[in-house]
Amino acid sequence: MILVIAVIAGLTGGLIRARIKKRYYQAKPLRFPWLVLLALIPQWLVFTLPAARNMVPDLIVSIILVLSQTVLFIFAWINWKTPGFWLLAGGLVLNLVVIMANGGFMPIAPDTAQWLIPNLSGEPWEIGERFVKGKDIILPIEKTALYFLSDRFRTPAFDLYRAAFSLGDCFIAAGAFWLLWAMGGKKYAKLT
């Protein structure tokens, strides 16, 4: 959700920018866009599809996550020259490095997990357990490799929305915003 917000903000800002300056809102063609779909389908299966997410063993899920993100990195590398992609690729690498260093999942501290879902008070999270069958795994700070790259940042504490995110997520959000904002920029022809 926090990444989707960055996309919506960049898209809205870029469209308004183009409209005010009477420019087209134009996109450069991306090379090999099907790679993204190829990477996302396995993730969708193991993290979203209810039947699969409870059946597939954690080891397989972690391998799928690492392979999927590697394919996404290849896509970002191929499209390196598109503005903002170096930020997207940088964020992806930061996430991938910390995921690989912690057994194939993004680490999250038990107190952050507790903060995310406070209703489960009294049932402490088990160390090494996956957080709501997603990309995160519960690990105490002292057992987390590269803790500074883990899901350690929190959204402002109010009850509308709670999420924890990593430094890599910040880069990805910034890259997505920049890319969509730039599409309303000077390089494109004026509206006629």
Binding site: P29, N95, A163, F165, S166, A173
Partner: protein, 41 residues
């Protein structure tokens, strides 16, 4: 006059959204928004 938001832009944005969802790893939990929509990965 050309449409300001054409099909190439739509494809670009859709690809970007999928990339961002796959590359990012935030964890979502509580809050009204997550209660309604579920924790988007």
């Amino acid at each position: 006059m050309k449409k300001q938001f054409n099909s190439r832009v739509a494809l670009f944005v859709m690809t970007l959204v999928l990339f961002v969802l796959g590359a990012g790893a935030p964890a979502a939990g509580g809050g009204i928004i997550n209660f309604i929509f579920g924790p988007l990965f």
